[in-house]
Symmetry: C4
Subunit: 211 residues, 4 copies
């Protein structure tokens, strides 16, 4: 398991560095996790408050299904660990990534009244697991932000069970959560959804569509 | 031929990495090819589903004119290989590059009703093969997106024969295809067209031009 | 003290390089400082007119509380050293960072009439020292720009005493000043505030919010 | 002179690479020069059609005041060499840099009717040689683009003599020319002006300034 943890931790650190460069994990924002073991659940999890542009694989914690650190680190896991654990359990995800981009922050607020944002008809959607055509409508639910993590985890659980086809959700004025069977898929999902949210956001600025 | 393939593959991988950094090949989107041999046709082609920020030269496949892998890889070539092959045949291109940028995605939709987007009067146009002055009008045709690759390849073929001067085309809500005599020229064409599509897109936002 | 200075200087140079890459310290703009000693005050300070993309740790000056160079450099410290010294004294800051981004430049002008810009309800605010929830309102005061450094330092002092909870201020059409207990925290604060100012700036462009 | 040329060429190649990364020299656009010798005039000049992201110091040509290559290269100098030579003569510049950014392309068109764009009241202006305060108005003249290089060089000469305080000019729908006493200053001027043109361009999008 330790070798596997080392590899997974390297992947998480590399992903963090790339997302930081794109401005999706500035100011220690965002967090990352990946499943190391299913039974009992062991999750490689980024520590709280780490600079994602300087995160080292050795800083990645191992936590259990209660969010307790089981590796020999003194650091705390991200406050949002309960959300990661819930997503892993509800979706059977192998990795969960949470980003804070300007576009996801804006769209999570602009579309909050509608309860989510629909992304439809784009080729990029085909990169989401199970989607075979651009003629597809992805619904990205938006949840109100909260600092009450158990309550927010329950809200996430409810949202996930109501929207079984959704590959991600937004927290209002907060950011994007996406996941995948493994880190490679989760990273792909984040890139696709951040790209498409930017497209939707920029389209909102175009008051005079020529079409 | 093998040495040549190695060099070409390195060039494709390097181009993929650069375009990924610019956000033009996120989420495994986009694909790249270059001619290794004309008769019989052998095309170096990016594999399906590869992370373009981590693509290695050794992952580049060799395919024939039917899109069959003739190198010793188990990976599949990009689903869009038929479009690459058609462009190579119709235009005598030595390399074909396909990007997914936010601006090309947006403009391919906004101008779809007009069947294309005209780019006129910009110095950057001079970088397109055969263009000697900025006083030039490039027509970038827009095709409806489709998952029916043989049909889409035929539509591409028809578009290419109707618009013999065009250096590229857009697939609606999908992205840009550009090509060139070799990879260097194809890369230059992509950079020029992505730049100019961004300029046109940003100009659409300016409701009050002062001129 | 010298070893500590070397470490601090490396940190400042690395921060400058990262901010330069993001376009926040172009054209030799911006400056950086960190406390090396409190009594007597010794501040590691970037030299005037240095290219922040090429700044070396060895170029970082040591200055006293009057802005005089006490290291063996011939270079001048940044003209804005008095502002850094004032912030260190008023806030007990361990590091002060000053950036010039397009968004902070624009918002410092657009909101100048209101005397500042309020940032409220965003999760990213939680990364500011002492902030525990997104349900928080950060007031970023805006000061008129001036070349009279003693007068501007006094205006900064007054602003800091009037707005004791503020983590940063803007100089009109000039840029952002943020600070922290140490360089790590100051860097985090800059990233958070530049991110949020970009969000607010882009929201201003959205004339038709759908919510 | 040869050692000096080697150093200057390295500086030009490094500058090209940095500007390419920022998207200011895409698609082989833009060109760079620096004075190696005054009498007789010898200019280090980028070759025509080079990829600025891959430009090597060894590719930099040495040309005379007629634009003839005097180094042992077979490559052609940039078509726009006459403009570089004219700027060097008229302004006594030690380096000339020409970029193609989206913002300078747009603003050179939007403000063409006014014959130029005024940039006033920004702190960043202080980075221009000889400017001591933000209370300054920089006039950036805009010239109509042309492929007739001798005529365009004459128009540049006339503009430079009419606007003796200007640090740069724009060619319409083409890009920015800036210069400096040496490459370091010219690079600083480009960064400052590209930054400020982006600020002005983004301000044009804000139809509802709150101030």
């Amino acid at each position: 398991m330790q070798e596997s943890l080392a590899q997974i931790s390297s992947g998480l650190a590399e992903t963090a560095s790339g997302f930081y460069s794109r401005g999706w994990m500035l100011g220690t924002s965002g967090n990352l996790s990946a499943v190391v073991n299913r039974k009992p659940l062991r999750l490689a999890m980024s520590p709280s408050g780490a600079d994602k542009g300087a995160l080292l694989a050795g800083q990645i914690l191992l936590i259990d299904d209660q969010g307790r650190v089981v590796s020999e680190h003194r650091a705390k896991p991200s406050d949002e660990s309960p959300l990661h654990i819930r997503i892993v359990k509800e979706r059977g995800a192998g990795a969960v990534l949470h980003t804070h981009s300007t576009w996801s922050t804006m769209l999570s607020d602009i579309h909050a009244g509608a309860g989510g944002v629909a992304i439809e008809g784009y080729e990029m959607l085909k990169g989401l697991a199970g989607v075979k055509t651009h003629e597809y409508r992805e619904w990205v639910p938006i949840l109100e932000n909260s600092q009450d993590m158990p309550a927010l985890a329950d809200a996430v659980g409810e949202t996930l069970s109501q929207h079984k086809d959704s590959h991600a959700f937004l927290l209002r004025r907060h950011g994007l959560y996406a996941w995948g069977d493994d880190l490679i898929q989760a990273k792909r999902h984040v890139e696709i959804l951040e790209f498409l949210l930017e497209v939707l956001g920029r389209r909102l600025l175009m008051t005079e569509d020529t079409n």
